[in-house]
């Protein structure tokens, strides 16, 4: 035992001057960290050592520990620290910890919360859970074993969860005679791997959890080691909560505090930045700006509050703001979007069901989300990208997902609060996955909403109509423009405010830079969708007549609109009929090869599987088709 007695001098202070001790304790900061490794690496022994050295083990616990050690321990007559930190009865018998346990200890400088999680691959979800709240990770390596597969896995996971401080604790140095060469080789090996996965920095420390070397005090046995002890490092490393104060201000609104008619405050935990009375803020996603009137706490109004504080804000303007909104620095607010790429960790025994609706909770927002099949799964031992159709328990994969309402977000790398989410099964209500947003898929949503006093409801109500998009799709020459034109004439006669978008007024202006490759066709439809959406915001009934050959783009446009505003109309004319009509002579050119990428000839047309309206032009003339469309729309 090299260090146990020399450590925490606070003990003396407690006896001599309790007031001074309390003053010191009061000013301690807090660090949360996770220990990664298996029982074989001496993880439980290390944690037991930290608790023991900091007097967090009481005499009665020690007595029961000694009794247990003799009965079930693996250390002969010595104390088996592993027994101290194992919790549930079933686990103790199996000799493995199968959950996340949180332990507490303190030194003169800091209070520590340790997340203790099992290291086996089948407990990946537990490690991810423990890592989610940690500022630092201690990766334990057995000096006799060196870097193992599990070392890589643990390192990958803590890096994935965004932990910036990594300690490589080379343990059991006593069993390799405190040999510097062994330590140096392990550090070199680890460095190569760490660089490969993007870990920029780590702190290697040679230790012995059992003997106490370099835990709380410098070991005489490792004179060649010039760095800090583990405790010194834990005491001085910068805590994320402090650096969060330098980022732009964000506070997800948890709850609106309205105890009486005179007070209306917005309560939440500041996730980043700082806020002062008078600061300009923007409510996202509504986009309204206001200024901070007061920062209310029971301890008095504050002139300033920082990340990590729970406060209640009042505004100088009466504006809409509720749970799920984010109060943000007006000059640099977060974006809102509804399609994302994310890395998912699956945590349920029931595998992911692609495209099923799950509840998604992020910050204080809860929406319905649909996850696409994984782009790939990550082999967490090899870090290879593997093909996958779903994700099973403990699997990690990269997926895209869409939400039914836009969410206010930031990439996980910038904000754990606005970038980290959980998925909840709608039937069982269980938490089935954790996710980290990599980026949003729609550039357009990065433009902040400009809130207008005259909103879309106001536009529509003045026109006394419900805005709609009548989306005509079909082959070239199928009759889309003809029928759409007939429909618009009827709507106009009914006093409706309409607008027809077709190739003539779009291809020659807005989209004249686009050709007919697949990429350009997709962009063509995307722009038309956005224009149609703006027009519905203006209260119009919009008719669009474009081939729009791909299902996924029509779906994309559908998802931009409220559910009942998008009407897909398939003008179903067989290719031979359309080609026989060939009004513009285009089929002839395509057949001759002078016109490339022509839908139906050398570019595919994906017919709608379930359109709201299907018009068979071989049996229905244009005016009857128009009547049918009108009746369907207004009968619904």
């Amino acid at each position: 035992m090299t260090g146990a007695e020399t450590v925490y001098e606070t003990d003396a202070l407690i006896g001599q001057d309790i007031e001074a001790y309390l003053e010191q304790h009061r000013h301690k900061t807090m660090l949360r960290f996770i220990t990664c490794g298996s029982v074989d690496d001496g993880k439980s022994t290390l944690i037991g050592r930290l608790l023991y050295d900091s007097k967090m083990i009481f005499k009665d616990q020690l007595a029961s520990l000694e009794a247990d050690s003799r009965k079930m321990g693996t250390q002969g007559e010595n104390i088996d620290f592993a027994l101290l930190v194992d919790g549930l009865a079933a686990e103790r018998e199996q000799g493995i910890t199968i959950d996340v346990a949180y332990r507490f200890f303190a030194t003169e400088e800091r209070k520590f919360i340790v997340a203790d999680t099992p290291g086996h691959e089948q407990y990946t979800r537990n490690m991810v859970t423990g890592a989610s709240t940690a500022d630092l990770a201690v990766i334990l390596v057995d000096a006799r074993q060196g870097i193992l597969t599990q070392t890589r896995r643990h390192s990958y996971l803590v890096h994935l969860l965004g932990i910036r401080h990594i300690v490589l604790a080379v343990n059991k140095m006593d069993l390799v005679d405190y040999d510097q060469a062994v330590f140096d080789q392990i550090v070199t090996d680890y460095e190569a791997f760490a660089t490969e996965i993007g870990i920029k920095d780590f702190t290697p420390i040679p230790i012995s959890g059992l003997a106490g070397d370099n835990i709380a005090s410098k070991s005489d046995a490792t004179k060649w080691y010039t760095g800090t002890t583990l405790i010194q490092h834990l005491e001085t490393v910068e805590v994320d909560a402090n650096t969060a104060g330098e980022k732009p201000f964000r506070m997800p609104v948890q709850w609106v505090n309205r105890p009486n008619l005179d007070f209306r405050g917005f309560s939440g935990l500041i996730s980043s930045g700082k806020i002062r009375t008078g600061d300009n803020v923007r409510i996202v996603p509504s986009g309204r700006n206001t200024t901070i009137k007061s920062i209310v706490t029971q301890d008095g109004t504050l002139s300033e509050a920082v990340a990590g504080q729970s406060v209640t804000l009042t505004f100088n303007d009466e504006i809409d703001c509720s749970r799920g909104d984010v109060v943000a620095l007006a000059e640099s607010p977060p974006a809102s979007a509804d399609r994302f790429e994310a890395t998912l960790v699956w945590m349920s025994e029931h595998p992911m069901v692609p495209r099923r609706g799950y509840w998604l909770k992020i910050g204080t927002q809860t929406v319905s989300a649909s996850v696409q099949p994984p782009k790939y799964q990550i082999g967490i031992n090899t870090l290879e990208h593997l093909a996958a159709k779903t994700l099973d328990l403990n699997a990690i994969g990269v997926c895209t997902f869409s939400t039914d309402n836009p969410i206010t977000f930031e990439p996980y790398a910038s904000s754990k609060t606005l970038g980290g989410f959980v998925l909840i099964d709608k039937m069982s209500n269980n938490t089935v996955a954790a996710g980290m947003i990599n980026f949003s898929l729609r550039r357009a949503h990065n433009i902040h909403w400009q809130a207008a006093d005259v909103d879309r409801e106001a536009h529509a109500s003045l026109k006394d109509q419900q805005p709609k998009v009548l989306w005509f799709t079909g082959l070239s020459g199928s009759g889309k423009s003809t029928i759409a034109n007939e429909v618009e004439k009827r709507l106009h006669a009914m006093g409706k405010h309409t607008f027809l978008l077709d190739g003539d007024n779009v291809r020659h202006g807005l989209n004249k830079d686009l050709g007919f490759t697949d990429t350009d066709r997709i962009e063509n439809i995307r722009r038309i969708g956005e224009v149609a959406k703006l027009m519905t915001d203006a209260g119009l009934i919009v008719l669009t007549a474009f081939i729009s050959p791909f299902r996924s783009e029509r779906q994309m446009v559908r998802e931009m609109m409220p559910d009942d505003e998008f009407v897909e109309i398939h003008i179903d004319t067989p290719l031979d009929v359309a080609e026989a009509r060939d009004v513009k002579g285009l089929y002839k050119k395509a057949r001759e090869g002078t016109l490339k990428n022509f839908t139906g000839i050398d570019s595919p047309y994906e017919a709608p599987e379930d359109p709201q309206i299907r018009i068979d032009t071989t049996t229905l003339p244009a005016d009857e088709a128009a009547e049918k469309i009108i009746s369907v729309i207004f009968d619904n």
Partner: protein
């Protein structure tokens, strides 16, 4: 500005309480009148200031608490502007269940069953409790949001992962949640907070000369005339205080001269036995707390 650990855990507890109020239909705060409850109630007042906490306090009464505890109970609720619900298990009352004759059945009937009855009676779907993870080995793994089946059972294998500070409060009809907003506080944190924030606690936490009796290794206080003496037993005045408060015939005192909070904290830090040793309930098997929890004890 660097926040201290107390500021951070206080903010975390406030965040948890607000999440529950935002997502649960009918929350309640379990109030046991002890120091942990006092600290939790104080945090709740801060969380919802300037209004009062938007839920009632529930005390599951065993009728055997210390007199000083009953006195503070009414005052604390009134000071917070909160409704106080006191529930007594009428079956236990009818059967005359008491700590002298019925041992662990007393705790089971009054406390465990009483709590289930009260939650069912009022239809509470979320109940705040003051338990901390540092109290006991099986609690180190307890979630902040702990789910209970419709029959109030705790299934250790069926608890939800809790990541970041995202809490999934969704539940199926009949299920309820026990929420532990003080999970990450230690005993020292609680004492320090009471000291710094000047929170009123039951005077029994401070040393005074009180009538006592030593029995089965516990130092008991004779709090009222219901105390049953064995032959030859006689109360003796000792300077004692309590580290934890429960039913007085089941709660062991420690001999002490600590009459101020700093002195109490000093003794706590220098002592070498853990807090729960003063409770008769934990002296069974090592896994007893886990077993009690599965049955619905808080």
């Amino acid at each position: 500005m660097t926040l201290t650990h107390l500021q951070r855990i206080e903010a975390e507890s406030i965040h948890i309480m607000r999440e529950v109020v935002a997502e649960a239909e009918n929350p309640v705060m379990l109030y046991s009148i002890g120091k942990d409850s006092a600290a939790m109630l104080h945090v709740a007042k801060k969380a919802f200031y300037p209004g009062p906490p938007p839920f009632p306090l529930l005390h599951v009464d065993t009728t055997w608490k210390f007199k000083d505890m009953y006195a503070l109970r009414e005052k604390a609720a009134a000071d917070a502007g909160m409704k106080l619900i006191v529930h007594k298990n009428s079956d236990a009352e009818a059967q005359g269940i008491n700590p002298f004759d019925h041992g662990s059945l007393h705790t089971d009937m009054w406390k465990t069953e009483g709590l289930k009855q009260a939650l069912d009676l009022h239809g509470f779907d979320a109940a705040f409790g003051g338990a901390r993870r540092d109290e006991e080995k099986s609690r180190a793994k307890e979630r902040v949001f702990s789910f209970r089946t419709a029959s109030h059972r705790w299934e250790p294998k069926n608890q939800r992962p809790e990541l970041w500070n995202l809490y999934n409060a969704r539940k199926t009809k009949g299920e309820s949640i026990r929420v532990f907003p003080m999970s990450n506080w230690t005993e020292l944190d609680i004492w320090q907070y009471i000291h710094l924030e000047n929170i009123e606690i039951v005077p029994l936490y401070f040393a005074a000369s009180r009538p006592t009796l030593e029995r089965d290794g516990l130092l008991l206080m004779v709090d009222d005339e219901r105390f049953r003496f064995a032959e030859g037993e006689k109360p003796e005045m000792r300077s004692i205080r309590f580290r934890t408060l429960g039913c007085y015939p089941l709660t062991g005192a420690v001999e002490s001269n600590a009459t101020t909070l700093p002195e109490v904290i000093q003794e706590m830090l220098l002592t070498t036995t853990s807090e729960r040793q003063g409770r008769a309930i934990d002296h069974d098997a090592a896994a007893s707390m886990e077993k009690k929890k599965q049955e619905g004890y808080f």
